[in-house]
Amino acid sequence: MNNAEFRSERIAEAPDFLGAEADGEFRNGLREWLARELPRVAGDLIGTAALHSVEFRRKWEDHLCCAGLSGLGWPRELGGHSLPLGKQAIFHEECARAGAPLAVNMIGHGIVAPTIIAYGSAEQKRRFLPSILDNSQVWCQGYSEPGAGSDLAAIATRAERRGDVYVVNGQKIWTSFANIADQCLLLVRTTLDGAPRKGISVLLADMHLPGVSVRPIRQITGEADFNEVFFDNVEVPADCRLGEENAGWKIAMDAANYERSTYFVPRIVRMQAELEALVRLAAGTRRRGRTAIDDPAIRSAIGELHINLHALRLYADRILEMAEQGVPPGVDGSSVKLLWSESHQRLFELAMEILGPDAALGPQEISAPAQGRWGRDFLWTKAETVLAGTSEIHRNIIAERGLGLPR
């Protein structure tokens, strides 16, 4: 396959540091690049909560992608950079350290792209990958339904084959970014025969097709990033099916593995920066003649988070190593997801304790410390033990698959 097919007009030649052999050189080059580009792109937004708005997140992601800083782990022949996972981790670490916001199209980059690379036909790769690479198309993940949350195999959205299309009817819910997405990694039921898992297929569905409607759902943070998605006789071309018909369950499970190795790494490495910010918050919070950081209870809680973060980082490295060797993270992926989401929750609970009375300020109150980000992120962490497999489900996985306990 020819690299040129995958090159987008929008993408510039990647910066030199990307070719650096040594990790240190890569890191330094990237750090300099970020120190120059982020303030340039963000302008007045630096240091404000608006830096984390969906609009700016998207703008920054576009900038990264168009500067050639996407597809870091993809094979070169698909337009990527074939960077080892270690370097990818450094990339996310430096972005977090520079204070850059999280990506919006993480489902596209972190989950859909590796899945298409693994299961897609040559034609599908040509069709879908370039627009992920240059970020011109945002993806969402249409798995959950009102009746199928933890029990994903219970999905009821039907796709019936008629000639060269699948006619899709049903409803998805909690679909993140469906309101801005162009494409959807869609899980559908293609047969009612046999075990529920054996009747599921994956479609790469265009969100702009007639019959698709999206209703945003407001979250407890006040934002509305997840949605209900309704499919009413939507005709998805049959050549948009990923993998074999009725073989979608395995693809979905593999996609979850990518999620655990590539999607969570940026979040794990960000926690270090967040913990450092928390220490500075505690050092700058003075009440009743005392600085919060001198409170032994707060110190001890920070110590605990520091220790957890150490373990988490080692877990993440191990999962990256396994991923590099093509080994799925399996039970360790569940451990990382649990440890990450629960430590992250603890970190923001601690921030609320440090804020004391200021915790009564709203998540969008700009006069609050960090313009309300602590409160907003505290609320957001409540989602993290639910999305991508709830804590209860991951504990079941560890107990049943890891320890072999009876089901």
Partner: protein, 355 residues
């Protein structure tokens, strides 16, 4: 106690039932979640009820137009209010002010008749030692219910334990509304200009302890009530929601987590009952407050988690409990500070052989 059996009263079961019945009709959670800022309208409705039915006069002596009841009645009221997400400065006006009137008298006592009728509404401001002085400018944020306050009461708890109080009419204050975390409680920044004259009162140790204890018990009861409500809602949800062909409440992971919440709330209930009795100490009140805050934190977290993504959505009003917990826990310097204070007072009593 199951979701259906009524909780035992701290004082008079009839009072409790009456409050329960009145608030049940006036707790439109849906109104809060359908408007962005929530509050105002409902705050007025709740306050009108609390005034008309005499709740604001619970602790006010009969000769000043109140009911002349005690802290155990306040505990009942506040628990039911927490359960129904009551919106209004009840703790400040109906608990703190009468406690100050009893402990200090003077200008606080003069406000009692108007407080008992609901015309006076108190905003409560905690300040640092630097702010205490006869003509200093004071700026406090966030102050709960500041927009509707007729008076502000300022508290300074110095690191050495010395407590002083000050009263200022809202005419002396500039009020700038801020976005609130808790939709059942508007907040604002309150600025008092340097020139306005004011007097700081320092009650003796016993009086200071009784004033603070009353406030802790009231807040603890609110936390307990909202925790109970969040637990009941969650028990309901997991009993109905099916995944893997069964109600999710049948999974032991869920049973155990909710059993822990129940246990924590029951412990808090006992501690509040104990702290609301005559002769209970400030330490008793602080312990009740910590137990209730911990139980409410645990329960609101479990409520959101066990509702799955539904718990994370705005329209599902569960977040109202989480946010109320956050606001109430942050008061008086936060649960963390109270825990440290409780620990210090226990450790000192052991080492110094104090009772």
């Amino acid at each position: 106690m199951s979701a259906d059996t009524p909780a035992p009263a701290f004082s008079d079961p009839l009072l409790r039932q009456a409050v329960e019945a009145a608030l049940a009709d006036a707790a439109p959670n849906a109104a809060l979640t359908s408007s962005a800022s929530g509050d105002a309208g409902q705050g007025d409705a709740h306050w009108a009820l609390a005034s008309q039915l005499g709740w604001v006069g619970t602790l006010v002596p009969e000769e000043a137009g109140g009911l002349g009841l005690d802290l155990s009645h306040v505990a009942d009221l506040c628990e039911v209010m927490g359960r129904n997400l009551f919106c209004g400065p009840f703790v400040e006006t109906a608990v703190l002010l009468p406690a100050l009137a009893a402990g200090i008298g003077g200008e606080f006592a003069q406000l009692l008749p108007d407080a008992a009728s609901g015309t006076v509404r108190i905003g409560f401001c905690e300040v640092d030692e630097e702010d205490v002085g006869e003509a200093k400018a004071i700026s406090v944020s966030p102050v709960e219910h500041a927009q509707s306050a007729t008076h502000f009461i300022f508290l300074c708890e110095a690191p050495d334990g010395c407590v002083s109080w000050m009263l200022a009419p809202s005419a002396d204050a500039e009020i700038a509304p801020l976005q609130a975390m808790d939709l059942t409680c508007p907040v604002a920044r309150v600025d008092i200009k340097a020139a306005s004259p004011r007097k700081w009162h320092t009650p003796d140790e016993g009086a200071a302890a009784r004033i603070l204890a009353a406030m802790h018990v009231a807040i603890a009861a609110d936390l307990l009530g909202m925790g109970e409500a969040a637990l009941a809602r969650t028990v309901d949800h997991v009993s109905g929601r099916k995944q893997f062909g069964t109600q999710v409440g049948a999974f032991q992971a869920i049973k155990h987590r909710l059993a822990d919440c129940y246990m924590a709330l029951s412990g808090a209930r006992l501690a509040i009952s104990h702290a609301a009795r005559d002769g209970a100490s400030r330490h008793d009140a602080v312990l009740a407050r910590i137990l209730a805050a911990d139980a409410a934190r645990k329960t609101t977290a479990a409520a959101i988690q066990l509702h799955g993504a539904l718990g994370f959505s705005w329209e599902m009003d569960l977040h109202l409990y989480l946010k109320r917990m956050l606001r109430l826990s942050g008061r008086n310097g936060g649960t963390n500070r109270l825990r440290a204070a409780a620990s210090t007072s226990f450790v000192d009593s052991v080492i110094n052989g104090r009772p």
